[in-house]
């Protein structure tokens, strides 16, 4: 199976957050502020479990920094980096 691209992972993270985890309006984009959208620790763990289910890669929560959690785009970039490193 081909490794997903960075953009592909950003879109996956974005869709999981938008459709399954957060309550967001139509203006929500991959660059929207996640903390303002209500992202909390439980949401992050649920997101990581979904990512693991889809890609087989577990992103250790202790690696996460506030910068990673800023937007779906920054989170997707981290997942991509983890995936290519594994």
């Amino acid at each position: 199976m081909a490794t997903p691209t960075r953009e592909d992972l950003v879109q996956r993270v974005f869709r999981i957050l938008r459709d399954e985890i957060l309550t967001v309006d139509a203006g929500f984009t991959p660059r929207s502020n996640l903390v303002k959208a209500g992202l909390d620790s439980l949401a992050v763990t649920q997101l990581m479990l979904s990512i693991e289910e889809q890609t087989g890669v577990w992103v250790d929560e202790s690696l996460l920094t506030p910068e990673h959690l800023a937007t779906a785009e920054s989170l997707g970039a981290l997942v991509h980096a983890q995936l290519t490193a594994s």
Binding site: L22, T23, D40, V44, E61
Partner: protein, 447 residues
């Protein structure tokens, strides 16, 4: 138009069961407190007028809670609420200002141990203790029955009250609660949800392999006599504690650091006594309000993650935190947060005693080792309340005489508060001092 009845949530019913237990065995109620420590400038007359307007606009503040026609799930009887008395507000004048670390004025302590009736709609009482006629500040306590709010809801309530005071909202205009469903996965079938509830029950049953011996002991018939100790860290020490939490448990899950601190504080007492705790079994409340909405004020919107730790694990702080992290991840992965919602939702139809019976059945008469809560920053948007600066604010969470101990952590204005509520006779003076010292040492990494 108002609905004539509003159903209790599953979590409301879970907590209502504690109230029934305390009423039956300990002659009191399950009353939570929110305490605002205010500076000068709190205007009693304005607050009274505000509460009158809010009580008229929000009938849940005085609605009776009962099963409609004696059957079915319990409901708030909104239709008859207008004839019920509004929440009582009393002012008490005291000359001496409280010292740092004093937590409960005598009247607040009395409220914590009062007998209230949900069936009579005795949901909320408010007391203001004015120091030097208010010139040295005022302590305000909201003493509420659990189906009315949960901890987060009570913080939203005082923030909303202040918004009404400032004219930002009207008393009949509540924040957007979001879509509150019975389950975090509402599209599942009834059968799937039944299976989920059974998985939750089996999960609880599994903890019975290591039964707990709580500080208060198994269920007993004693008058409830709760009091509280408050540990407040100054901003510099709070910064150290927060940094320590980030280092030990990661910035995403500070609650696990505080849970480890709470376990170790109890562990120190057991070691000093030479007593066996069996295991440490502690429920962690999880907020279920829809993310990205302002969130509901009224009713309880939580599920629980249960943690169980063997005593030897509590000796090593980092191993303890790692264990708690693993248990949290496993519980989320197994969907026990959602399973708990389903179990509590189904059980609304059963008698209150069913809940407590289920919890105790697996633990030989015990509910858990102690209660715990970490609620983060206390009402961060609330800088002033009805004209007065909010100097400090914290929760005084209730605990039945068994397990007899509750530790709750929160932050306010850069200061960390740890409130230890305990039943009379459960801890000696020296044990309370030992807990305080252990807490401080672990929070500040001074061990």
């Amino acid at each position: 138009m108002r609905p004539p009845r509003i159903p209790l949530t599953g979590a409301d019913c879970f907590l209502r069961a504690f109230d029934a237990e305390i009423a039956r065995w300990n002659g009191a109620s399950h009353v939570s407190q929110l305490v605002l420590r205010l500076g000068p400038g709190f205007d009693v007359a304005i607050f009274r007028k505000l509460m009158d307007a809010v009580a008229r606009a929000q009938p849940m503040l005085r609605a009776r809670v009962a099963r409609a026609w004696g059957i079915g799930a319990p409901v708030y009887q909104i239709g008859s609420a207008e004839s019920r008395p509004a929440p009582r507000f009393a002012v008490h004048d005291v000359e001496q200002a409280p010292r740092e670390g004093d937590v409960l004025a005598a009247v607040f302590q009395r409220r914590l141990n009062e007998k209230r009736s949900l069936r009579r709609g005795e949901m909320l009482r408010i007391d203001a203790v004015r120091y030097a006629a208010g010139a040295a500040g005022t302590d305000l306590a909201l003493s509420w029955m659990h189906p009315l709010f949960d901890g987060a809801g009570s913080e939203r309530f005082v923030s909303w009250l202040d918004e009404c005071h400032r004219g930002v909202r009207r008393p009949d205009e509540l924040p957007d609660p979001g879509e509150l469903g019975p389950s975090a996965a509402p599209l599942r079938t009834l059968r799937e949800r039944g299976d989920a509830a059974r998985r939750w029950q089996r999960w609880l049953a599994g903890f019975g392999a290591h039964p707990v011996h709580s500080p208060g002991g198994a269920r007993r018939r004693v008058p409830q006599a709760l009091s509280a100790d408050l540990l407040t860290l100054d901003p510099a020490r709070t910064e150290r504690a927060v940094a320590n939490a980030g280092r030990r448990s990661g910035f995403l899950t500070p609650m696990l650091f505080y849970l480890a601190v709470a376990i170790r504080a109890h562990h120190a007492v057991y070691r000093a006594r030479g007593a066996d705790p069996g295991s440490y079994l502690v429920p962690l409340p999880v907020n279920l309000r829809p993310r990205g909405t302002e969130g509901a004020i009224f009713r309880t919107h939580v599920s629980l993650i249960w943690f169980q730790v063997l005593p030897e694990r509590a000796d090593d702080f980092d191993a303890l935190v790692a264990d708690l992290k693993g248990q949290r991840l496993a519980a989320i992965k197994a969907r026990h947060i959602e399973n708990g919602v389903d179990a509590m939702h189904f059980s609304r139809l059963l008698p209150s005693r069913w809940y407590a019976r289920m919890a105790r059945r697996y633990q030989r008469g015990e509910l858990c080792s102690f209660f715990f809560a970490y609620t983060g920053e206390f009402a961060p948007d609330l800088e002033r309340f009805c004209g007065a600066e909010v100097r400090n604010a914290f929760h005084v969470a209730p605990v039945p005489p068994s397990p007899g101990s509750c530790l709750a952590f929160s932050q306010r204005g850069g200061r960390l508060n740890a409130t230890h509520v305990h039943q009379a006779g459960v801890f000696s003076e020296s044990e309370r001092a030992l807990m305080r010292d252990t807490l401080r040492a672990d929070l500040l990494d001074e061990g």
